[in-house]
């Protein structure tokens, strides 16, 4: 009879009870942690581009406005894009260097649309830290970035300086021989 009274008491103390306490601590921490993550995510994600910034309108551009040897900088998704009407000499220089040692090797043909080698359409943000390079600078007949001295050739490939990549290609298609749609 004594045993039957004493046992339940013993069950509530000692190791069993501590196990329950640990479980309660862990469960509380887990639920609390999940709560913190659940509220932290919206607070971080609100920093990401909002729907209006994501609504990427594609743009059309009339190439007849760009004379041979001329270059225009236009804004697409608020980022600068070069449209360069290359001369034959520029194209030849780019093709000649196709297999020269480069940081980010690419042939000139892979950077233009077939049959439209005179039109080079690339992002105008230097792949180093985002400045807009200026044409007719550097030793390769192409662009020189004013910020940290990256030099691009006439195919906008990186040849010298800190930038790791060629100027990025942007998605575009020819709607007619004188009209492109970017985006």
């Amino acid at each position: 009879m004594v045993d039957s009274v004493a046992h339940p008491v013993a069950d509530h103390e000692g190791p069993t009870d501590e196990g329950r306490r640990d479980f309660l601590y862990l469960a509380t921490a887990a639920v609390g942690g999940a709560g913190v993550v659940a509220i932290a995510w919206p607070l971080i994600d609100q920093l990401n581009p909002a729907a209006d910034a994501l609504a990427l309108a594609s743009i059309e551009y009339d190439l007849s406005k760009v004379a041979l040897g001329q270059e225009v900088t236009i804004a697409w998704r608020k980022q600068p894009v070069f449209i360069r009407h290359r001369t034959q000499a520029e194209i030849d220089a780019a093709v000649r260097d196709d297999h020269a040692p480069m940081k980010d090797p690419a042939t000139d043909a892979s950077r233009v649309k077939p049959g439209h080698a005179q039109w080079l359409i690339v992002s105008a943000s230097c792949t180093h830290l985002g400045c807009v390079p200026t044409f007719k600078g550097g030793d390769y007949g192409g662009w020189l970035c004013p910020c940290h001295g990256s030099v691009y050739d006439t195919s906008a490939r990186i040849r010298k300086g800190p930038a790791p990549k060629n100027l990025y290609l942007v998605p575009y298609a020819f709607l007619s021989p004188t009209k492109v749609k970017i985006g």
């Binding site: 971080i44 920093l47 990401n48 581009p49 909002a50 910034a53 900088t73 236009i74 804004a75 998704r77 608020k78 980022q79 600068p80 105008a124 943000s125 792949t127 180093h128 830290l129 985002g130 400045c131 807009v132 390079p133 200026t134 970035c145 004013p146 910020c147 940290h148 001295g149 010298k160 300086g161 800190p162 930038a163 790791p164």
Partner: protein, 440 residues
């Protein structure tokens, strides 16, 4: 603070009543009574000057925020027209705030240099030093975001370049830059969040300053000899001795400050920043504010993007690690002739890096040609000079400083900090207590 016994006596019934409930008067009284080494020189006044700078920036910043429009469309005009021309004394408040940032950095660089020279970072003041480094980094973040707000060409392209630094990291780089920009380029959302953070960070700085002062009051001040305070005779109460000295130093500092505000308001500004931000055209010559130039030169010296960014981070990180890099038992470089000279060369190197940062990467150091090309640039170019200076910058931290502790011969260190004070020819005889302003 801990060892210091409070000597505050409530003087009225109200003070006694308050002291039992919120002992704030006791707290302030104890701060003023704080025993401070009697031999602190004028290099020690820059802590007070920095507190003054933070106060000025917060007050003028709150005023500017009342008139500023943090939108891509309105920011430039709200600064150039509303604040500079229309608001009563807006030009003055902006001039104080813009030049105040430079004065703040001038003071913090002297404060850091003082800590380095006299070994204030050494045990038991490592946490004090780390908190100071945190404040410095927060200051740079705040200044950078503040520089973006006028939304001129330099603001915009500075923002683009600095945020693009994070893009150097593989995989996470791109999502992080987008997160920071709130778009695909630096734009109105970026400006908006920078304004919000630029308003927030100074208050975080103020909180870390409170921790910095707390960490100072546990071991107490270092002093020019670097020798520990041994008795009460080595100290004087903070007030009136150092409050008066600090006030004098602040007054001199304000004179220099006022020369900039009233006579050279644009001397530290780039003219390009008076052109509204244009995402399609980068200014021909883009440089950061003078106080970031040495780091900019280190970034540019390295031909690889990710390595450059990591070197920039390491240049700052080395400062944090200094208490553990320095193996010398002697705190003050006053008794370490070799360490002093090598450190002075380091300081000159930082100035050289700063100069390099302000020049074009292929500019020439000495008049004439670029010299023979070595690897990628001529040896007479700014790029190679910054590489040499950057190598010394890191070598001082990671080779010279740890090794010196083992090999250098130090001069005899005084037994107590009173010894050099009392033996100083300009000091009044011992027993006359009022000699704390003696320069050591």
């Amino acid at each position: 603070m801990e060892e210091h016994i409070s000597t505050y006596q409530p003087k009225s019934a109200f003070e006694r009543w308050l002291d039992a409930r919120l002992p704030i008067v006791r707290f302030s009284a104890d701060l003023m009574e704080f025993p401070t080494p009697r031999n602190l020189n004028y290099w020690w006044t820059f802590g007070g000057i920095l507190a003054f700078c933070l106060g000025i920036q917060i007050v003028t910043g709150i005023v500017l925020a009342m008139h500023y429009d943090p939108s891509g469309a309105g920011a430039f005009l709200s600064v150039q027209r509303t604040i500079m021309r229309d608001v009563n004394y807006g030009w003055l408040v902006r001039s104080i705030h813009a030049n105040g940032a430079s004065m703040f950095f001038l003071a913090v660089y002297i404060h850091i240099a003082r800590g380095m020279y006299y070994g204030s970072y050494k045990a038991p003041r490592e946490v004090l030093w780390l908190l100071g480094c945190v404040i410095y980094v927060l200051m740079m973040a705040t200044a950078f975001m503040g520089y973006v707000l006028p939304w001129g060409q330099m603001s915009f392209w500075g923002a683009k370049v600095i945020t693009s630094l994070l893009g150097a990291f593989p995989v996470i780089g791109d999502p992080i830059t987008k997160l920071l920009w709130g778009g695909f380029a630096v734009d109105s959302p970026t400006l908006n969040r920078f304004f919000s953070l630029h308003y927030l960070l100074p208050f975080i700085i103020a909180a870390v300053v409170a921790l910095h002062i707390w960490a100072l009051h546990v071991p107490g001040n270092n002093n020019p000899t670097g020798v520990n305070v041994k008795s009460k005779a080595d100290t004087v109460p903070f007030h009136p001795y150092y409050t008066v000295k600090d006030m004098f130093a602040v007054s001199v500092f304000v004179i220099v400050f006022a020369i900039f505000i009233f006579y050279l308001p644009d001397a530290l500004q780039k003219t390009d920043n008076n052109i509204e931000a244009n995402p399609l055209v980068t200014p021909a010559h883009i440089v950061p504010e003078w106080y970031l130039l040495p780091f900019y030169a280190i970034l540019r010296a390295i031909p690889d993007k990710l390595t450059g960014v990591l070197a920039l981070a390491a240049a700052l990180g080395s400062l944090f690690a200094l208490p553990w890099i320095d193996t010398s038992k002697v705190r003050s470089k006053r008794y370490r002739p070799m360490a002093r000279n090598l450190w002075l060369i380091w300081v000159v190197g930082v100035f050289i890096l700063g100069w390099c940062g302000s020049q074009e990467p292929d500019g020439h150091v000495f008049p004439g040609g670029a010299g023979p090309v070595f690897i990628d640039y001529g040896i007479n170019t700014v790029t190679w000079l910054s590489r040499i200076a950057a190598i010394y910058y890191f070598a001082w931290f990671w080779a010279i400083t740890p090794l010196l502790g083992f090999f250098e011969t130090t001069l005899p260190v005084p037994d107590s900090l009173a010894t050099p004070v009392l033996s100083h020819p300009a000091t009044v005889p011992a027993g006359a207590a009022a000699a704390p302003q003696t320069k050591g």
